[in-house]
């Protein structure tokens, strides 16, 4: 069996950034396995701009952002295989994959980085009543048709869900001559970035219908229309508010799900909230030597943060392979519900740790508080927090050194 120090599953932004960081930290035996025909992952179809502001201080398109990392991979001659699908990862880090040239093959890795990204929630998962005509697409699938294949999925569009891809596609379809009649959002607030609501909806006069959902699908062959309705505070549709909108296309942007089917084959335990692996500050999962980063770990707002997280995973995988570690500890991080989750969920070494987290609702005038029992070790005030925007704080070892557990809480005035 082929032996490779570090196998990276996925050649998107997370996989490439992890590979570059690992290479620069001293491990040269690396292999990236990418299922698509090119590196870059989903960025290749994200032809809009807005990527890289944090990372490169300029606005790039998706393919441009990907290219920055592709170049680094090429310059370092980091090996990668395209059109290669990983079928299984064992807890012992045997990676089984397949492609046209080599058939089904296996690699024994010292460390594995999971960087498979995420998928969109499908219509089926929503259980919307009605018929099953053509014309219903996830926003990302429509994006692929328009941006990569050069075909228009439809002309009269309703979008369910105000996730970022949905907002981006509202603008994209409009620019291509389609009429977007409404973006319906089940929640009383949007899950997308504020700048996308401004630039993709408001600038084009596309109505955002908050607390609305699609309750019925009409049309025998091609979609002919949808019935939408307002929902009450328990998110149940209010029958009197039913409204029929004729349309030939329904795009769904109703959430992203980390693709952890492979992680499960490796026995990696998952967080029920993030649907990603439970990890420590190094992005190491509970299975030794298996790391995770990017959208397979938790869904990020910006690719810049994906790259940043992947560097942590890449460097840590090298430290693991080389047997280097800081002083050990074991501190679980817990949340209060207003804070939905943290990544990492555990601190295992005494070094600076940046903790990312998401809140459950829109809150104003809040205090973010981290405590060890009754002892507050960190607190910070914020004017507004929202589920669509990930938060982060950095803790130093002297703050948490002796802690038994760290609880993350949000105090709302």
């Amino acid at each position: 069996m082929k032996q490779i120090d570090l196998v990276i599953v996925g050649g998107g932004p997370a996989g490439m950034s992890a590979a570059v960081a690992a290479y620069d930290s001293g491990v040269k035996s690396i292999l990236i396995l990418e299922r698509d025909a090119h590196l870059g992952g989903i960025l290749q179809q994200c032809i809009h701009n807005g990527f890289g502001l944090h990372r490169f201080g300029e606005e790039l398109t998706g393919p441009e952002y990907a290219w920055r990392y592709e170049q680094q991979v090429y310059e370092r001659k980091i090996p990668y295989l395209l059109n290669t699908m990983v079928l299984d990862i064992s807890p012992e880090k045997v990676v089984t994959a397949t492609n046209s040239e080599e058939g089904v093959f296996q690699i024994q890795a010292k460390a594995v980085i999971l960087a498979m990204g995420c998928r969109e929630r499908s219509k089926g998962a929503l259980n919307i009543a009605g018929t099953r005509p053509s014309g219903i697409f996830s926003a990302g699938t429509a994006q692929k048709y328009v941006n990569l294949k050069g075909y228009m999925p439809g002309k009269n569009v309703v979008i369910l869900g105000s996730g970022d891809i949905g907002l981006i596609m509202a603008r994209r379809m409009t620019l291509e001559g389609a009429k977007v009649h409404a973006v319906c959002e089940l929640m009383p607030y949007s899950g997308g970035l504020a700048r996308n609501i401004e630039q993709c909806l408001n600038d084009f006069g596309i109505p955002l219908r908050l607390s609305h959902t699609v309750v019925e699908i009409h049309g025998k062959e091609r979609l002919e229309g949808v019935t939408i309705a307002k929902v009450d505070e328990n998110r149940r549709p209010i029958p009197e508010t039913r409204e029929y909108i004729p349309c030939d296309t329904l795009l769904l942007s109703v959430g992203l799900i980390p693709e952890n089917e492979l992680s499960k084959t490796a026995g990696v335990p998952l967080d029920r909230v993030t649907n990603g692996a439970l990890v420590d500050q190094d992005r190491q999962t509970a299975v030794e030597g298996i790391f995770a980063c990017g959208n397979v770990l938790h869904v990020h707002d910006l690719v810049d943060y994906v790259s940043e997280e992947a560097e942590i995973a890449g460097k840590s995988a090298v430290a693991y392979i080389q047997g280097l570690t800081a002083e050990r500890t074991d501190i679980p991080l817990t949340t209060d519900g207003k804070i939905r989750y943290t990544v990492p969920q555990r601190i295992t070494q005494k070094k600076d740790v940046t903790v990312f987290f998401r809140v459950a609702d829109v809150y104003r005038n809040v205090t973010i508080r981290v405590s060890d029992g009754d002892r507050v070790i960190y607190s910070k005030k914020k004017l507004k927090v929202a589920p669509g925007e990930m938060e982060s704080i950095t803790l130093r070892p002297d703050q948490f050194a002796d802690a038994k557990a760290l609880s993350f809480a949000l105090e709302v005035k």
């Binding site: 299922r35 059109n83 699908m85 079928l87 397949t98 492609n99 046209s100 040239e101 080599e102 058939g103 089904v104 998928r119 969109e120 499908s122 219509k123 089926g124 998962a125 259980n127 009543a129 009605g130 018929t131 099953r132 005509p133 053509s134 697409f137 996830s138 990302g140 699938t141 692929k144 048709y145 328009v146 990569l148 294949k149 050069g150 075909y151 228009m152 999925p153 439809g154 002309k155 291509e176 001559g177 309750v215 019925e216 699908i217 025998k220 062959e221 091609r222 030939d248 089917e261």
Partner: protein
């Protein structure tokens, strides 16, 4: 050309009959109004091979169910179709239910069902720990099995075609003219075929077809059944197919693993006046989920992959309607549950009726009952897979990541009888687009493969024919 036999309806019943007939020296055609085979009741039902204890003693349903259940394993082997003998349980919650369980036991024994046993609560939960703790008894039928209904249909039509039968799709029969020795069957689009015999396996529309030759002795109406299908992660929650004891309201909601490893729950049972309403309803889906939860613990509906509604063809006589009302015309109508289970036996029975009626049937020595299996690659060993990939690199390219379906498998399916012409056709044959992302990632590629193989423009590929287009045209600035 004058066909010897025209089979109207390419569902599982028409498919199995056509296959059986293709073993004889006959010119055969199969007609269906849809864009593909297996698009009616055979595309959306519970996928169960019933053991045969439900139908009343002496009925055609009882006779053909038990016989069909016996034939099914062999039929599936020949056709390369997945089949699993997983057993079934009818669970009861009350003393009244217990009486029903015992009645079903006696009925099953009378029908000739093998291996039936009445279980007490302890035995039941030892067998199926996730069945509701409130269940107190069950009828266990070890011969109960599962099969994929559209796969069986596709394979039987395909095998009939491999043995010489013609398939005419988009052929909506609107009239039948009775010549002296043959019928002229006319389609809505102006086409016509001539055939000496007609097998009327038109499902929901069998009554309309029969009326075209003057037989108005029965009617067929639609019974809606809504289902919710769950991810493979839920597929091993139970091993057996779990039924609730039947009441006046019907057989109730069943919970079953599928041959592909998913969990199916449903159906509702609502009679309707028209024959096209396949829309799911909030009430129907809620009903399925509620009753499922009563019967089995731990069903997680957040793992729902899709929901759908099937229409069962319910005949007006209460039993299967299989007869020859006039010369050279055979009704195979009202084939509701246990229709799938009975299909191989129905085919056998129709042949015997034809023989009795004086039709000359001469065996065709070139008949080959074996169809190249659709799952050879998927189920192969690592070495076998690598040998195939070496010969054809397309088998090394995964197109559908959720169900790990390769380009090689999709191309093979597109080239095999009966050839799919749309996205749903590829889905039913290969499972590509049937997984948790529901085609989100792979459908643009499959459209490309279809367009390429059929040599048609990309935007002309549909989801299931007719007006079910995927794309309206090119984007700006694309030539």
């Amino acid at each position: 050309m004058i066909y010897d036999v025209a089979v109207v309806g390419a569902g599982v019943v028409g498919g199995m009959i056509a296959r059986e007939l293709s073993a004889y020296k006959l010119n055969l055609c199969i007609l269906d109004k849809a864009h593909d085979v297996a698009t009616g009741a055979s595309s959306a039902n519970s996928a169960i091979v019933h053991a045969g204890f439900d139908a009343k003693e002496g009925s055609l349903k009882a006779l053909l169910n038990v016989r069909g259940s016996e034939l099914m394993a062999q039929t599936c082997r020949e056709l390369g179709v997945k089949y699993k003998n997983n057993g079934s349980l009818v669970i009861g919650f009350t003393d009244e239910d217990r009486e029903t369980v015992e009645l079903l036991y006696r009925r099953g024994v009378a029908n000739g069902v093998k291996g039936l046993r009445v279980l007490n609560a302890e035995e039941l939960h030892a067998l199926e720990p996730n069945v509701s703790k409130n269940a107190i008894c069950a009828l266990h039928a070890p011969t109960g099995s599962i099969v994929c209904p559209y796969e069986l249909t596709i394979a039987s039509v395909g095998n009939a075609m491999d043995n010489g039968a013609s398939l005419l799709l988009d052929f909506e029969v609107v009239g039948i003219e009775d010549g002296k020795d043959a019928f002229t069957i006319k389609a809505a689009d102006g086409r016509a075929v001539t055939a000496k015999y007609i097998i009327n396996a038109a499902g929901l529309y069998a009554d309309a077809i029969a009326a075209m030759v003057g037989d108005t002795s029965y009617t067929v109406h639609a019974r809606r059944g809504e289902y919710v299908l769950l991810d493979k992660e839920s597929g091993s929650l139970i091993q057996n197919t779990i039924f609730r004891t039947p009441s006046k309201m019907g057989k109730g909601i069943l919970v079953s693993p599928t041959v592909d490893g998913n969990l199916i729950t449903g159906p509702t049972s609502v009679d309707i006046g028209e024959k096209t309403n396949k829309a799911t309803t909030p009430e129907g889906l809620a009903h399925v989920m509620r009753e499922t939860r009563e019967n089995v613990d731990g069903v997680m509906y957040n793992q729902t992959i899709t929901s759908f509604c099937g229409l069962r063809a319910v005949g007006s006589t209460g039993d299967f309607i299989i007869n020859i009302p006039r010369e050279r015309f055979v009704n195979v109508a009202g084939i509701e549950s246990p229709g799938l289970s009975s299909a191989p036996a129905i085919a056998e029975y129709v042949i015997s009726l034809l023989k009795e009626s004086g039709m000359t049937l001469e065996k065709d020595p070139t008949f080959d009952p074996i169809r190249a299996p659709m799952h050879a690659f998927r189920e192969g060993t690592l070495e076998e897979k690598n040998a195939i990939i070496k010969k054809d690199p397309a088998y090394g390219r995964i197109i559908c990541r959720c169900e790990t379906v390769t380009e090689g498998e999709i191309l093979a399916a597109i080239r095999q009888n009966p050839k799919p012409r749309d996205l749903d056709g590829v889905k039913r044959r290969t499972r590509a687009q049937m997984g948790r992302c529901q085609g989100g990632f792979c459908s643009p590629y499959i459209v490309e493969l279809l367009a390429q193989e059929m040599q048609v423009p990309y935007e002309s590929v549909t989801k299931f024919g007719g007006d079910s287009y995927i794309n309206v045209g090119k984007t700006k600035g694309v030539d």
